[in-house]
């Protein structure tokens, strides 16, 4: 579980996060949504420890990040997995090399143990056919699956995803969403996803946080988002005609 308590973050005179508090529960897919410039990425980078908030605290299963020593922070980082928007795979390494990288860096496992683990996670993301290929030789969807495999290879307690299905076709995007949700439940991970994609919201949003101008404007589940009267949320989520119709159908069904 990740507890965020009143975090503030500024860059120069621009205040990006203005006091966000929330809780991300274990075994759940937590989504952060909001318009571009609402502070989603900065918030995610604060959760990852890449940015330090000027005020407030972030606790990972009771461990307050700001109170941890350098070594403790490094240990905590190894409990985190991250799927970047552009996958961020290492160009100079094969798919297998990318997935094995964290094991080589941080474990004392034997070569065969590492190989077994790499085989396992690549099988888990349904990607056994691309071992020796380089990231530039595989599709965007496959790159995302490799990124997920790399993120879970160390058995993380926390999984963070920044726009995991941007640039993917709807079918592949749904596959990636479902894969993340399955992995979250299967390994009891605290997953936080930063997304613009309303399909993801409807598919896997067990908890949704809507950010607007650095403030948490709304919080709820994918079911509650249909019922909300919050104008900022409805104008963002139902900006497309299709989603507006879906909402109307849902409301009619409920009535």
């Amino acid at each position: 579980m990740i507890e965020v308590n009143d975090i503030h973050k500024s860059f120069g005179d621009t205040q990006v996060l203005k006091g966000i508090s929330t809780t991300f529960k274990k075994g759940k897919t937590n989504l952060i949504i909001g318009q571009s410039g609402s502070g989603k990425t900065v918030f995610l980078k604060c959760l990852l420890g890449l940015f330090s908030p000027e005020q407030g605290s972030i606790s990972y299963d009771g461990r307050d990040y700001s109170n941890l020593s350098g070594d403790e922070r490094r240990d905590l980082r190894q409990e985190m997995g991250m799927v970047f928007q552009g996958s961020a795979l290492f160009d100079s390494m094969t798919v297998e090399g990318n997935v094995r990288f964290p094991l080589d860096m941080f474990t004392k496992k034997s070569k065969s143990e590492k190989q077994d683990r790499v085989d396992f996670v690549l099988k888990r993301v349904n990607l056994t056919e691309a071992y020796d290929r380089f990231p530039s030789e595989i599709s965007g969807g496959m790159q995302k699956r490799v990124a997920i495999a790399r993120a879970i290879v160390m058995n993380p307690k926390y999984l963070f995803c920044d726009e995991p299905n941007s640039g993917l076709d709807p079918k592949t995007a749904t596959l990636i969403d479902n894969l993340i949700q399955e992995i979250t439940e299967e390994y009891d991970i605290t997953t936080v996803i930063n997304t613009h994609d309303m399909n993801s919201v409807m598919e896997i949003g067990e908890k949704i946080i809507f950010l607007k101008d650095g403030i948490k404007e709304w919080e709820g589940t994918k079911h509650e988002i249909f019922k909300t009267d919050n104008e900022a949320v409805t104008s963002f989520v139902y900006s497309s005609e299709l989603f507006e119709k879906v909402r109307q159908m849902y409301v009619e069904e409920r009535n």
Binding site: L48, R77, M82, G86, F90, F101, M105, F106
Partner: protein, 245 residues
């Protein structure tokens, strides 16, 4: 003011490079890869340029020493002094700022814009140690490349001088041996080591801290080349004053 801030962040970068080192087994393979890329990959251009510059220095000197009372061996002497003192350590380093410097900046800069550096940091890897330290170690072999440059440059001068009919082989060899001061070779290699440090770290700084996209990677490479050259030329002056002045 921004120059001072850049010098400050460069100093912080250098400090970070030596903190939290990655496992030796991994570092070893990274160092070997960088030696192959930065050193062996540059030998061809170093040999090619050194050979022809050595030849041109000899021909130019021969064409300008027309007074019959000036001994011919001075052509060999001038070639040796030019190559050992300035051409090989300094001129080759400026060329390397273009070749090695832009490679370092663009490779690290591309990793920055594609979030690969963020990925390393999220995993808890000291990205500066992982990316820059192997380059510094690989560049410790730079004096060997410069020694080859000196040798090939003098060889080019000998071939151009003797086969161009400007002087005999014995005269050239006499010029190479006359008034030889070993300390000058020491001075040249001290300079080379300092330039190796500059060649590894200044382009790394520009790549690591760049912001933006693909266009900015190109701009950062150009800026890195300019600043690496400027620092090499300033350091050349300072070291010459300190060691020979």
């Amino acid at each position: 003011m921004s120059y001072l801030a850049s010098i400050g962040s460069y100093a912080i970068m250098v400090k970070e490079v030596f903190k939290k080192p990655v496992k030796w087994r991994i570092m070893k393979s990274l160092i070997l890869k960088e030696i192959d890329e930065l050193m062996f990959g540059s030998l061809g251009i170093i040999i090619f340029i050194s050979f022809f510059i050595g030849a041109v220095v000899t021909i130019q000197t021969a064409l300008n020493l027309t007074n019959p009372i000036i001994p011919k061996y001075l052509i060999g002497f001038t070639t040796r002094q030019s190559l050992i003192l300035e051409f090989s350590p300094t001129f080759v380093s400026i060329i390397m700022a273009g070749k090695v410097g832009s490679y370092i900046t663009s490779s690290i800069g591309t990793m920055r814009v594609t979030e690969q550096i963020d990925a390393l940091e999220v995993m808890g890897v000291n990205a500066l140690n992982y990316l820059v330290f192997p380059k510094i170690v690989a560049m410790l072999l730079y004096p060997f490349a410069i020694a080859i440059s000196m040798y090939v440059g003098i060889l080019g001068g000998w071939i151009a001088g003797v086969f161009g009919g400007f002087l005999t082989s014995a005269e050239f060899t006499e010029g190479l041996q006359i008034d030889f001061i070993p300390y000058q070779v020491f001075y040249a290699f001290v300079k080379t080591l300092v330039f190796a440090w500059v060649l590894a770290t200044v382009p790394s700084y520009h790549g690591f801290y760049m912001k933006g996209g693909a266009l900015e990677v190109g701009k950062a490479s150009t800026t890195a080349f300019v600043w690496t050259s400027v620092v090499i030329i300033i350091m050349n002056y300072i070291l010459t004053q300190l060691l020979l002045g």
